[in-house]
């Protein structure tokens, strides 16, 4: 608390009692004398209830901070820390709600069966492939979108809306829209391709074509998020830098590679890390587009976790799968935190 404030603290008390008498009507009558307007009030009246209340609310910073942060950390404890501990514990249990047996400890058995489960490896490979394909693709597309959106047009809202609305609509909606776009008979993608090739493509009969359709859809949806993050970064680059570069004879490309890209690095890091983490959890779009088919060719790790947990009620195995996903994601998070703390 600044010095002038503590100096005024005595008068402060009295004024609060008089000025807010109405608001504190629930308090005992000892506020009465002060409320009648004898100001400045004499210090001896100090131990009145308003003062005690003030002491609670005006407690020193450390105590107040603890009170204010308590709900956040309580929630994180109950909804994040405890569940993660329980998840790790459950992954060492045989805990199937359909078996009728009580949960019992089986050591690393779930992890052993996971390592020999071909569908787990398919799901893991698909998840990593989706990440490897869609993160760079969304980054490039998002960068292009952001550069255009950052141009000083007189009317900016149409371009902005075309970034914001795809960002805001649910992934599950986008999956359905993707399914309709790539539909083999009446889909608009095949209708456009009709002009360049004679036979229609039956996207969802082939594993890798389905996979590509999903990757394209994910790229479309997530490039809007990347673009918004990069647009925010672009807006922080001072115009003087561009002007100085122009004066030095730098052309458009030189300015882009020597000014824009280096200045944009922190935003790119943020966008890439968040995209990597969310793409490791890819669920909504494959579920709504292909339901994992044909066969298991578009099943992701998150879908496999959901299937084992919710459909098969095999909580032990589902937990082991989730622990693997958690570890992969933790690695990425650690990398991200180091990036963030390295920034000034």
């Amino acid at each position: 608390m600044p010095e002038n404030l503590s100096r005024l603290a005595g008068e402060d008390d009295a004024r609060s009692a008089s000025g807010e008498g109405a608001a504190r009507s629930t308090l005992p009558a000892s506020t009465g004398p002060a409320a009648t307007g004898h100001r400045p009030a004499d210090p001896p009246r100090a131990p009145s209830p308003p003062r005690r209340r003030r002491r609670l609310l005006d407690a020193n910073d450390a105590v107040l901070a603890r009170i204010l942060l308590a709900p956040t950390f309580l929630l994180l404890l109950v909804i994040v820390v405890y569940p993660v501990c329980r998840l790790i514990w459950t992954s060492f249990l045989e805990d199937s709600l359909t078996s009728g047996l009580p949960p019992h400890f089986v050591g690393v058995e779930n992890y052993v069966s996971l390592a020999t489960d071909p569908e787990f490896w398919t799901a893991l490979t698909n998840t990593l492939l989706i990440t490897l394909i869609t993160v760079p693709a969304a980054l490039l597309a998002g960068l292009a979108l952001a550069l255009v959106a950052n141009l000083p047009f007189q009317v900016r809202w149409p371009v902005r809306l075309s970034l914001l609305i795809p960002w805001a609509i649910p992934l599950a909606f986008v999956g359905l829209i993707g399914g309709w776009f790539f539909q083999s008979d009446y889909g608009v993608v095949n209708d456009l391709l009709r002009h360049v090739r004679s036979t229609r493509i039956i996207w969802f009969n082939s594993g890798w074509l389905s996979f590509m359709a999903i990757c394209l859809t994910i790229t479309w949806k997530t490039s809007s998020f990347v673009a918004l993050v990069l647009l925010a970064g672009l807006q922080t680059i001072p115009d003087e830098l561009y002007e100085a570069a122009s004066v030095d004879g730098a052309g458009v490309f030189r300015r882009f590679f020597s000014v824009t890209l280096p200045m944009l690095k922190p935003s790119i890091a943020v966008a890439v890390i968040f995209r990597m983490i969310t793409s490791l959890q890819t669920f909504d779009i494959p579920v709504t587009m292909t339901r994992g088919g044909p066969g298991t060719s578009t099943v992701t790790l998150a879908m496999y976790i959901h299937q084992n947990t919710i459909d098969f009620l095999d909580l032990g195995y589902g937990s082991a799968l989730a622990v693997v996903l958690f570890l992969v994601s933790m690695g990425v998070t650690a990398f991200y935190l180091r990036q963030v703390s390295a920034q000034p």
Binding site: L5, D13, R15, A17, E20, L57, D58, D61, A62, L64, A65, L68, L69, T72, L75, L76, I79, V80, P83, V84, R86, V148, A149, L151, W157, R160, S162, L163, L164, I165, W167, A168, I169, P170, L171, A172, F173, I177, W180, D185, R194, V229, L231, A232, D239, V270, I273, F274, I277, L280, A302, I305, I310, L315, S319, A322, L325, S329, T333, L337
Partner: protein
């Protein structure tokens, strides 16, 4: 800034961005106006020949779309309010109070913002099942609050820091307590920030699919993204009806975005945002 490239090229680039972003949604809208007969014509028609609203009637009739909408709205509003309240308290502590573990607290909050929600699926399912909370709003409100809490806290911290501290000091000299100053001075003055954080929290909740699908499977408790996947049968895809339902689901969020686009952009600038 000097305008790069010729004007025609810039205008074309802007047009391409708009088509890329809005064509898929426009196409869904066109589909929702077509009859099933028109839809199964080859080559496909672009503009509907005989526009009809029947698909919208069917969208509300084939599935309890109004209930899904209501549930989504209820869950999103409750979790947004809860998130804002908790994030306001935390953000004030982080923005204004001298505390030694500020870096640690911020680090923990950022770490949670990168937390994979999927890993909470199993343990939260167990807990909600034990507590009998499956198929209630609480099963979704609590995780969604955690989902949005980091972003909202970061947005609010940056807005609170932009409020001159003198205003608070003046309020406290006038007899306001510190918490009173928070809710009477800081929060009203950072209303745009609070609103932005609220929008982000709302969109997060409105969009979530995995937990909504897993925890609330009863018809009366389903949210919109889950309910909207149920129009399709094993082999039947009533695309015009699905499209109509999608339009109904997109309009509320799109309206929010259209009205408050500037706030959303500033919010995305203020806090590294998850998408």
């Amino acid at each position: 800034m000097k305008m790069p490239g010729p004007a025609a090229l810039r205008r074309f680039a802007a047009f391409a961005v708009i088509v890329n972003g809005l064509f898929p949604l426009f196409w869904i809208f066109l589909t929702s106006l077509k009859t099933e007969a028109e839809l199964t014509r080859i080559p496909i028609t672009w503009l509907p020949h005989a526009p009809t609203l029947e698909n919208y009637v069917r969208a509300f009739h084939d599935q309890p779309l109004a209930i899904y909408l209501f549930n989504s709205l209820a869950v999103a509003l409750i979790s947004t309010a809860l998130t804002l309240f908790i994030a306001t308290l935390a953000a004030y502590a982080l923005a204004r109070l001298e505390i030694g573990y500020k870096g640690l607290a911020l680090g923990a909050i950022i770490a949670v913002s990168t937390f994979p929600l999927v890993t909470l699926l199993v343990p939260l399912f167990q807990t909600m099942r034990t507590l009998g909370l499956l198929n209630t709003y609480a099963a979704l409100v609590l995780p969604y609050t955690v989902l949005s809490l980091p972003v909202c806290t970061l947005v609010l911290v940056s807005f609170f820091q932009s409020i001159p501290i003198d205003l608070e000091n003046a309020a406290m000299i006038d007899g306001c307590s510190r918490v009173g100053a928070l809710f009477r001075i800081v929060v009203p003055l950072s209303a745009p920030g609070v609103f932005t954080a609220g929008l982000l929290a709302f969109v997060n909740s409105w969009d979530e699919f995995l937990l909504a699908l897993s925890f609330n499977s009863a018809t009366s408790m389903r949210t919109l993204p889950v309910g909207i996947t149920l129009y399709q049968g094993e082999f039947a895809f009533p695309w015009p009806v699905i499209s109509a339902a999608l339009v109904v689901g997109i309009v509320p969020v799109a309206a929010l975005i259209v009205m408050f686009q500037q706030r959303v952009i500033s919010g995305l600038t203020a806090g590294g945002v998850k998408g």
